[in-house]
């Protein structure tokens, strides 16, 4: 159970629905640990400034998160969270381990076009 204020993806079907129904999606797949929590916090705070992006989390230990753990883009990742950015259902960027707010913003601004000043 992830105790965040983000929307949770509980199943592979939820995940599929989210990335198909939304143009720009960020999914943070992790646990309630020190490398993951800061990334959830950053996403929670950026959510209001990036209304054109949907932010979700998914529990790393949920068997259904195979949809993220088995992505070719995360091959070689050895640190959670696995953060995946989708555009029109396709993975366009993936990062491993803790990220700063600036790192996340840079990806959102670059990959999801409409730059927003927070």
């Amino acid at each position: 159970m992830l105790y965040t204020n983000l929307k949770h993806l509980e199943s592979a079907a939820d995940h599929q629905k989210a990335i198909i129904e939304n143009e720009n999606v960020m999914v943070i797949c992790g646990r309630m640990g020190p490398m993951c929590i800061p990334v959830y916090g950053i996403a929670e705070e950026l959510e209001k400034d990036y209304s054109h992006v949907k932010f979700y989390d998914m529990e790393f230990d949920n068997p259904e998160s195979h949809v993220i753990r088995n992505l070719p883009e995360v091959k070689g990742f050895m640190g959670i969270p696995f953060t995946i950015y989708y555009k029109n259902g396709k993975v366009i960027k993936a990062t491993s381990s803790i990220q700063t707010r600036d790192q996340v913003k840079t990806i959102l601004d670059k990959e999801f076009a409409a730059a927003v000043t927070a």
Partner: protein, 319 residues
């Protein structure tokens, strides 16, 4: 002075000390802003379970931080987080803080609660292999190293305890430590020494990380002989303590040789109207409870300072 951007008190940092100060100040109906460079909660949110916070049997640090944040904002405290401080002026009666987005805030008093962070090695390759072989959290990433050979850097309690815990996954754990002895408690040292999966490289430090997509080897320098040797490894876990987040205060306020803010018993600093609390101040014990206590004292002292300042300013007007 823009009155919209003027506050009775600005708190720099939103860990338990800063949030407590925010609760006390805003409940005293003082206009209060908390500015935080990271995620609200500070290092508190990194604690999986807190079982020794009085009045709460067991709670995650994340949940406790969220409650503190909610309490502070419910009293009217404003919070700006994940924003950097570009400049600050503390010496004048009117304190100024400039943020990286260009906004300038002023206040009659400032409480510094910037907290601390995990120390990194700061050597070549460390940033490149974060999440691709380098980790700072055994419970987070240990299972990625099942049946692999890894290195743990450090000689304190965290390093030795985490090294032992990582033997649940790794086939071999090599502890690299800069001294010829450990700073950890004896029981932690003994637990590591009797563990057959753990080896030791003493008087040494990692000088660089190398690999292609993932970490493949490190260079280790023997600090006594100066000899550098190449060491093949699948991963490195770094546990080399904490440092206070006070670099931005250097030359602006009294810090001790470890960069901690020097405070008196009422949490006042060497600058009038500036107070400090939490993990970044000079003190021996760093706990959530001590941070909360410091934050309370700092807020009450700042409230008293603001009360006296207002009387002084009123007298100047009527004189």
């Amino acid at each position: 002075m823009d009155s919209n951007n003027h506050y009775d008190a600005i708190v720099v940092g939103a860990g338990p000390a800063g949030l407590t100060a925010g609760i006390y100040l805003s409940r005293a109906r003082l206009k209060t802003l908390i500015i935080n460079e990271g995620t609200v909660g500070g290092q508190l949110i990194l604690t999986h379970e807190i079982a020794n916070y009085p009045g709460v049997e067991s709670i995650s640090g994340y949940q406790l931080a969220n409650i503190m944040k909610k309490q502070a904002t419910s009293f009217g405290c404003e919070i700006r987080s994940n924003i950097n401080i570009r400049d600050l002026g503390l010496t004048n009666e009117l304190k100024t803080i400039t943020l990286s987005d260009g906004n300038i805030y002023t206040a009659d008093s400032v409480i510094l609660t910037p907290g601390g962070r995990s120390r990194t090695l700061g050597v070549t390759g460390e940033d490149n292999f974060k999440g691709r072989g380098i980790s700072y959290c055994a419970t987070c990433d240990g299972d990625f190293f099942t049946n692999k050979e890894i290195v743990v850097v450090g000689g304190g309690n965290s390093a030795l305890e985490e090294a032992v815990s990582l033997t649940k996954y790794a086939s071999k754990v090599t502890i690299v430590h800069q001294f010829d002895h450990f700073q950890a408690f004896e029981h932690a040292v003994q637990d590591a020494r009797v563990n057959t999966r753990i080896k030791f490289i003493m008087d040494s430090t990692i000088t660089s990380f190398h690999g292609n997509e993932n970490l493949e080897y490190v260079d280790i320098r023997n600090l006594k002989t100066g000899r550098v040797s190449r060491f093949k490894t699948d991963g490195v876990f770094i546990f080399i303590g904490y440092i206070p987040n006070t670099e931005f205060l250097k030359g602006r306020i009294d810090l001790n040789k470890w960069g901690e803010i020097v405070v008196k018993s009422d949490m006042s600093t060497n600058i009038e109207g500036v107070f400090a609390a939490g993990d970044s101040i000079t003190k021996r014990f760093r706990q959530v409870t001590t941070a909360v206590g410091d934050g309370t004292v700092a807020a009450l002292a700042a409230s008293n300072y603001l009360h006296e300042l207002k009387i002084k300013q009123k007298q100047l007007i009527t004189a």
